[in-house]
C-alpha cells in the first residue's frame, strides 16, 4: 500500500508563485517540477476525489490533469489565468467525462452510517464521520451543483473564480451553491444525532 504523502521531503517552494514555478519548469528546472508536484497534486486529487467519490478514478484524473499542465507549460502565458483556476477547470472536465461514461447514480439511502453514538466516540472520529457523510451526500447532487458546492465550501474559492472555472455567471454560481446546500441539508437531515450534534 502506498505511503502517505508526508513521506516525501517538503520542497514546495511556498514563496514562489505558480506562474514562476511553471516558467522554471518549462526551462528545465528539476526543483520546480518537484515543487509543482508537491503543491498541486494534493489539491487536484482532493478536488477530483470530492467530485468522483472514487480513489482510483480520482488518481487517474489527477495524473491526467497534471500531465496536461506539464505539456502546456512551454506555452503558458503568465498573468492571463491562474494555474490553479486552469487546473480546476481541466480536472472538473475530466471528472464530468468519467461520470457521464459511468452513468453515476448514488442512492441517498446509501449515505454512510456514522459510528454508533452509543459508543464512546472521540472528537476525531466524529469529524471523520461528518466528512464521510458529507462526501456521500455530495454524491447525490447533480454534477454542476456538486462542483459549485465543493469549489465554494471545501476548496474555499470565491464566486468570481468559480464562475471562471465553470464558465458561468456569478448569479448562476450563487444559484447552484444555494440549491446544492439545500439538497445537502435535506440529505443529511435526520442524522443530526448520528453526527454528534445533539450533545453540543
Amino acid at each position: 500500500m502506498d505511503k502517505p504523502q508526508s513521506a516525501m521531503p517538503y520542497e514546495a517552494m511556498t514563496d514562489t508563485t505558480d506562474d514562476d514555478l511553471l516558467a522554471r519548469y518549462a526551462s528545465g528546472d528539476a526543483a520546480a517540477a518537484r515543487a509543482l508536484t508537491l503543491r498541486l497534486t494534493p489539491r487536484v486529487f482532493g478536488h477530483a476525489m470530492r467530485l468522483l467519490g472514487d480513489r482510483a478514478e480520482a488518481e487517474d484524473v489527477a495524473q491526467e490533469a497534471l500531465m496536461r499542465l506539464w505539456k502546456i507549460a512551454p506555452d503558458w502565458r503568465a498573468g492571463e489565468a491562474q494555474v490553479t483556476t486552469w487546473l480546476y477547470r481541466v480536472t472538473a472536465n475530466l471528472c464530468t467525462d468519467r461520470l457521464r461514461r459511468k452513468g453515476r447514480h448514488v442512492d441517498i439511502e446509501s449515505i454512510a452510517e456514522p459510528p454508533d453514538p452509543g459508543l464512546s466516540v472521540t472528537g476525531a472520529m466524529q469529524e471523520r464521520a461528518r466528512a464521510d457523510a458529507l462526501q456521500t451526500a455530495l454524491g447525490t447532487l447533480p454534477d454542476r451543483q456538486r462542483q459549485a458546492v465543493v469549489l465554494r465550501h471545501i476548496d474555499g474559492l470565491g464566486n468570481e473564480e468559480i464562475a471562471e472555472i465553470m464558465d458561468i455567471g456569478l448569479r448562476a454560481v450563487e444559484s447552484l451553491t444555494a440549491r446544492g446546500k439545500r439538497a445537502l441539508a435535506e440529505a443529511l437531515a435526520g442524522r443530526r444525532g448520528d453526527l454528534g450534534y445533539t450533545d453540543e
Binding site: D2, K3, P4, Q5, A7, M8, Y25, A26, G28, A30, A33, R34, L36, T37, L38, T41, P42, F45, G46, M49, R50, R55, A58, E59, A62, Q63, L66, M67, W70, K71, A73, P74, E127, R128, R130, A131, A133, L134, Q135, H153, I154, G156, K181, R182, L184, A185, L188, A189, R192, L195, Y197
Partner: protein, 117 residues
C-alpha cells in the same frame, strides 16, 4: 427556527470537517505525477527526436500512411498493370505503351541493333 435554518450550522460543520480531513494523496500518485513531469522535461530539454520532426513535416501519421499506400499501389501497378491501363494509354497516346509484345523497355530493338552492329 425552521428546519432548514436549524440544519445550516450543521452543514457548515460538515464542511469544516471535510476541509480538516482532506483525502490522503498517496505517495504512489505523487511519484507517478513527478515521473510524468520529469519525462516531459527531458523531452523538452533534449529536443524532439529527428524522426518525429520529419513525421510532423510530412503531416503526421495519417499523411505517412497515405504516402505508403500510394507507393505500394504504384509499385503494384508497375509490376502487374491492369489491362484497362494499357487500353487507356492506347486511346490517349495512340501508341501501344504496354505493348502487345510485352517488351516494356524496348530491349528487343536494342538487342537487334547490337546484333546488327
Amino acid at each position: 427556527m425552521s428546519d432548514a435554518n436549524r440544519d445550516q450550522p450543521d452543514l457548515e460543520r460538515c464542511f469544516e470537517a471535510a476541509r480538516a480531513n482532506p483525502p490522503d494523496t498517496s505517495a504512489g500518485l505523487m511519484a507517478r505525477v513527478l515521473a510524468d513531469a520529469e519525462a516531459l522535461q527531458r523531452v523538452d530539454l533534449t529536443g524532439t527526436p529527428r524522426w518525429r520532426t520529419w513525421l510532423a513535416a510530412l503531416g503526421g501519421w495519417p499523411a505517412v500512411a497515405g504516402l505508403g499506400l500510394a507507393a505500394c499501389a504504384g509499385l503494384w501497378i508497375g509490376i502487374a498493370p491492369p489491362l484497362a491501363i494499357g487500353d487507356a494509354v492506347l486511346v490517349l497516346t495512340g501508341s501501344d505503351f504496354l505493348g502487345t509484345s510485352g517488351d516494356l523497355f524496348g530491349t528487343g530493338s536494342f538487342d537487334l541493333a547490337v546484333l546488327e552492329g
